[in-house]
C-alpha cells in the first residue's frame, strides 16, 4: 500500500496531479482512491489531495489517509508542505516547490511570511527532501501552469510511490490535449532531473 498527500494553494493544479498519480497507478493494475478539496478553498485557500494506492479496495478503505502514513508528500508551496507534514510517515519522502505564495493576509499586514524558514524546517524534519525550483522549470517550459507536472516528475523519479517517470508520462499522454503535451513532457523530465540533482548533494 502507498499513500501520498499533495498540499498547495487553490489554483495550483493539485487535483489534476492527484488524479494523474491515481490514474498511473490504476494503469499499472493497482486500486486507487483519492480525496480532493473542491469548492470555496479552491479560491486561493489551502488545499489538500489524498491519494491511496493498494492492491484492492479493501487495502485502502478511507479516502483520506491517516496521519503519519504518507510515503510521499508533494508540496506545491513550502508553508503548505509544512502544514501537512504530520501526514508524512517516518522515513517518508517529500518533494517540495521552493517558491512561496504569499497569502493576502500576510501581504496586508505588511509582513510576508518567511519562506526560507519553512524550507529549513523541512530540511531539518525530512531527510528525503527533494526541492524543486518550479519557477525556473516553468520559465524554461514557457508556461506557469506546468509546476504540478514538474513536481510529479520529481515524485515519480524518487520512487516513493512505486511509479516510474515513464508510466506518469504515458498517463499524461492519455490525458492531455496534444498541443500541451510537449511542454508538459519537458516539465516532467526537468522535475525528474531535480530529483537527480538532489541526490548528488
Amino acid at each position: 500500500m502507498k499513500n501520498c498527500i499533495l498540499a498547495g494553494v487553490g489554483g495550483q493544479g493539485t487535483v489534476l496531479a492527484s488524479k494523474l498519480i491515481a490514474q498511473t497507478a490504476m494503469e499499472a493494475g493497482k486500486f486507487a482512491r483519492t480525496a480532493e478539496t473542491i469548492g470555496m478553498a479552491q479560491r486561493g485557500g489551502s488545499v489538500v489531495s489524498h491519494v491511496r494506492i493498494g492492491q484492492t479496495a479493501e487495502d485502502v478503505s478511507s479516502p483520506m489517509l491517516p496521519l503519519g502514513s504518507a510515503d510521499l508528500l508533494i508540496g506545491f508551496e513550502p508553508a503548505e508542505a509544512v502544514r501537512t507534514l504530520p501526514y508524512l510517515k517516518k522515513g517518508g519522502a517529500a518533494v517540495v516547490s521552493v517558491k512561496g505564495v504569499q497569502p493576502v493576509t500576510a501581504t496586508l499586514s505588511g509582513k510576508s511570511y518567511d519562506v526560507s524558514a519553512m524550507l529549513s524546517y523541512l530540511r531539518e524534519q525530512v531527510p528525503n527532501l527533494v526541492e524543486v525550483d518550479t519557477e525556473a522549470i516553468c520559465e524554461a517550459c514557457g508556461s506557469s501552469k506546468v509546476a504540478n507536472v514538474a513536481l510529479l516528475g520529481a515524485a515519480a523519479a524518487c520512487g516513493a510511490l512505486g511509479l516510474t517517470v515513464k508510466e506518469v508520462e504515458a498517463a499524461l499522454e492519455r490525458r492531455l490535449p496534444a498541443k500541451f503535451l510537449d511542454m508538459n513532457r519537458k516539465a516532467l523530465a526537468q522535475g525528474a532531473e531535480a530529483y537527480q540533482g538532489a541526490n548528488l548533494k
Binding site: V9, G10, G11, K19, A22, Q23, M26, K30, F31, A32, R33, T34, A35, E36, T37, I38, G39, M40, A41, Q42, R43, G44, G45, S46, A57, S61, S62, P63, M64, L65, P66, L67, G68, A79, E80, V82, R83, L85, P86, Q102, P103, V104, T105, A106, T107, L108, G110, S112, Y113, D114, A117, M118, Y121, Q125, C138, S144
Partner: protein, 596 residues
C-alpha cells in the same frame, strides 16, 4: 469490464445512466455539482439534462417526468433540499410512476456550505427511503438500486452522499448492459392531484409501507452485519464506515460491526440481530445522530439491556467531520485498547490562508466601486451565496450579511424598514439572481422599499465550477438559447433606474453607483465583466520601481493576491496577474502600468 478512475459524483452519474435515467435536472451546489455535469458529458443521446433555475424547479421537472413513467434524477446540495422541500413533501404523498431519485449531497465540516444539516433526518421527516453510500464504488451500485426501490414502492427516494464520497475518486468497474430510458406517457389519473382527502389516504398507505420497506432493507446488501467477538459492538454509516474499517484494522480490533446504508426506514430486523447479546454499542456517524437514535429507540422498545454511545453522549464529535484518527481514538477508548498517539514536532508559525477572490476577479472592482461611492453614507452591504461572499474579507470588507440564496435582496429591505436612516445595498450574482433573486426585487418594488441592487454579472455560475444559467444562453443539451437579460427583467418588474457598467472602468463604475444611490425606491447597477476563469487573461501589469513610492495603497485598498511586497515596494506576480488593470487605477503615482 471497463475500469475507470471516477469521482463519486461521476460514479453516481454513470450508475444513473446505466439504470436508464431519462430526465436529469438540478441546480449546482458543492459537493453535488459534478453528478449532473457527468450525465451531460456521457449522455448517450437519449437523456434530457438541464440545469434548472433552482432546486425547486429542478425537483418539479423531475417529478413531472417521473409521473410520466420516466426515471428521473434531481441533484442538489443539502441546502438546496430546503428550497426543494415544498414539492418534495407533497410528492412523498403523491408518489411516482417512473423511479425518481432525489440526490442531496451533505457536507460534514461544513467544507463549502452554510449548514451541517443531515438529509437522513429529512428522509424521516418526509417518510422517504434514503440511501447513504460509504464509497464511490458503493455509490455506483446504490444509485441503481435507488431507482429500483423507487419504482417498486412508487415513491421518490433520497440519495445522500457526503463530500468525501462525492469528491473522492476510486477505481470502479463499469459493468454490464445499460437499461434504455422508458418512453414517457402521462396517464391522466386523479391520484396525481393532491387534496386533503388523498393525503390522508396516502398517509395511511405510507405508514403501512414503512415496515415492509424496513424488512426489505434488512436484507439489502448495503446494510451489513459483520460478526465479531465480545459484548461490544460498533455501528456506522456513510463514509464513517470507511474510517471505522480502517481504524479497526489499524488497532487490530475485533468486535461485532453493523453498517447502515439505508437509515430510513430503519432496517430493524438486522439491527436487532446486531444488538442481540451486546452490552455496549458505539455509533460512528457524521452530522446528526440518526443511526444512534434509531438504535436507542429500538433498544428501548425491546427493553434490551444495552448502552448506546455516540454523538449524543459525546463519544463521537458532535460537529464537523470524522477522520480515521478521531474514529480510531473513539474505538480504542470504547474497546479499551491502548495505542500510541503520534506526537508531531512543533512547526514554525504558519501563515493563515483563507480563500480569497482570485487575482483579477471583477467582483473585487465592483465591491471597491460601491465602497468608494458609499463613503460617508451610513450603509449596510447585504451579501449572498457565491464567490462574492469572499468580498467580506479584508481589505474590501463589503459583506455585512449572508444567509442563503437570494436572501441579501430581501434582508436589505428589512434592515431599511427597521433602520430607515440606513442606506442598504444588496449584492447578488447572476446565477443567484435567476435562482431566487427576482421575487425579492419584486417585493421591494411592490412595497416601495428604498434599496440599491448590485448585480455582479460574470456570465457564469463561478463558485461551483462555471455552469451555464438562464443569462448565458447555453443549455446542458448543448443548445444556444436566448439569453435572458437581467436589465430587461429588472425594468419589466418596475425598477426605475437600471444602469449597466463595466466594473473595471473604475471611475464610471463609481459614478454609476452614485447615480443609482440617489434614486428613491429600487435602483440597480449591473456590473458586467466575465469571470477570469472563462476568458483569456490579459498581459500582466508591472510596477515601475522607480515610480513606486511604497505607499502600498494598492495592497491596502483592494488586497489582490497578485500584489506582493518586495522590500519596501510592491511587485506584481506575473503568473497570477490577469491584467484587469484595477490596481493601475488606484495607484496614486501611476507606478503600475499595463505592458504594451
Amino acid at each position: 469490464m471497463a475500469k475507470e478512475l471516477l469521482m463519486g459524483n461521476q460514479a453516481i452519474a454513470a450508475g444513473a445512466i446505466r439504470a436508464g435515467v431519462g430526465v436529469v435536472a438540478g441546480y449546482p451546489g458543492t459537493p453535488s455539482t459534478e453528478t449532473l455535469e457527468t450525465v451531460a458529458a456521457r449522455n448517450p443521446g437519449d437523456i434530457y439534462v438541464e440545469w434548472s433555475t433552482n432546486e425547486k424547479a429542478a425537483l418539479e421537472v423531475a417529478a413531472g417526468a417521473a409521473l410520466s413513467g420516466v426515471r428521473s434524477l434531481v441533484t442538489m446540495k443539502q441546502v438546496g433540499l430546503n428550497v426543494a422541500s415544498d414539492p418534495l413533501m407533497s410528492l412523498a404523498y403523491i408518489g411516482v410512476k417512473g423511479g425518481m431519485v432525489v440526490l442531496a449531497a451533505d457536507d460534514p465540516g461544513p467544507i463549502s456550505s452554510q449548514t451541517e444539516q443531515d438529509t437522513r433526518q429529512f428522509a424521516e421527516f418526509a417518510n422517504l427511503p434514503v440511501f447513504d453510500p460509504s464509497s464511490p464504488e458503493e455509490a455506483y451500485r446504490m444509485i441503481q438500486d435507488a431507482f429500483e426501490y423507487s419504482e417498486k414502492y412508487g415513491t421518490p427516494v433520497l440519495f445522500r452522499p457526503t463530500t468525501r464520497v462525492c469528491h473522492g475518486c476510486a477505481s470502479i468497474d463499469l459493468d454490464g448492459q445499460r437499461k434504455k430510458p422508458a418512453a414517457g406517457n402521462f396517464e391522466k389519473d386523479p391520484k396525481w392531484v393532491i387534496f386533503p382527502k388523498l393525503s390522508f389516504q396516502s398517509h395511511l398507505k405510507i405508514n403501512a409501507r414503512q415496515p415492509v420497506l424496513a424488512e426489505d432493507f434488512s436484507g439489502y446488501w448495503g446494510n451489513v452485519l459483520t460478526p465479531g467477538s465480545g459484548k461490544k459492538g460498533i455501528a456506522a454509516g456513510g463514509v464513517s464506515w470507511a474510517y471505522l474499517k480502517e481504524a479497526i484494522s489499524l488497532l487490530g480490533a475485533d468486535c461485532r460491526l453493523l453498517k447502515i446504508g439505508t437509515s430510513n426506514p430503519f432496517p430493524e430486523r438486522l439491527a436487532l440481530e446486531f444488538l442481540d447479546g451486546l452490552d455496549e454499542v458505539l455509533v460512528v456517524e457524521e452530522l446528526s445522530p440518526v443511526i444512534e437514535r434509531a438504535l436507542v429507540h429500538l433498544a428501548g422498545r425491546k427493553h434490551l439491556p444495552v448502552e448506546i454511545f455516540g454523538r449524543q453522549t459525546g463519544h463521537i464529535t458532535g460537529a464537523g467531520e470524522n477522520t480515521v484518527e478521531s474514529v480510531k481514538k473513539a474505538v480504542a477508548e470504547f474497546l479499551e485498547i491502548s495505542f500510541e498517539e503520534t506526537a508531531a514536532a512543533e512547526p514554525p508559525a504558519l501563515p493563515v490562508r483563507p480563500p480569497v477572490l482570485c487575482a483579477g476577479c471583477p467582483h473585487r472592482a465592483s465591491f471597491y466601486a460601491v465602497k468608494q461611492a458609499a463613503k460617508g453614507v451610513k450603509s449596510v452591504f447585504c451579501g449572498d451565496i457565491g464567490c462574492y461572499t469572499l468580498g467580506n474579507a479584508m481589505p474590501l470588507d463589503m459583506v455585512d450579511t449572508c444567509l442563503c440564496m437570494g436572501a441579501g435582496i430581501t434582508m436589505a429591505q428589512g434592515i431599511r424598514r427597521a433602520a430607515p436612516d440606513t442606506k442598504t445595498f444588496a449584492f447578488v450574482g447572476d446565477s443567484t439572481f435567476f435562482a431566487s433573486g427576482i421575487t425579492g426585487v419584486v417585493n421591494a418594488v411592490y412595497n416601495e422599499t428604498d434599496m440599491t441592487l448590485i448585480v455582479l454579472d460574470n456570465s457564469t455560475t463561478a463558485m461551483t465550477g462555471h455552469q451555464p444559467h438562464p443569462g448565458t444562453g447555453k443549455t446542458m443539451m448543448g443548445e444556444v438559447t436566448e439569453k435572458i437579460s437581467i436589465p430587461k427583467v429588472l425594468e419589466a418588474v418596475g425598477v426605475k433606474k437600471v444602469l449597466t457598467v463595466n466594473p473595471l472602468q473604475l471611475d464610471q463604475a463609481i459614478a454609476a453607483v452614485r447615480e443609482a444611490m440617489a434614486e428613491k425606491g429600487v435602483s440597480a447597477v449591473i456590473f458586467q465583466s466575465p469571470c477570469i476563469a472563462v476568458v483569456k487573461p490579459d498581459r500582466p501589469v508591472r510596477v515601475d520601481t522607480d515610480k513606486c513610492v511604497g505607499c502600498r495603497k494598492c495592497i491596502r485598498e483592494i488586497g489582490c493576491p497578485a500584489l506582493e511586497l518586495d522590500g519596501k515596494k510592491v511587485r506584481v506576480e506575473p503568473s497570477a496577474c490577469t491584467g484587469c488593470g484595477l490596481c493601475t487605477q488606484i495607484c496614486p503615482v501611476s507606478a503600475i502600468e499595463k505592458e504594451e
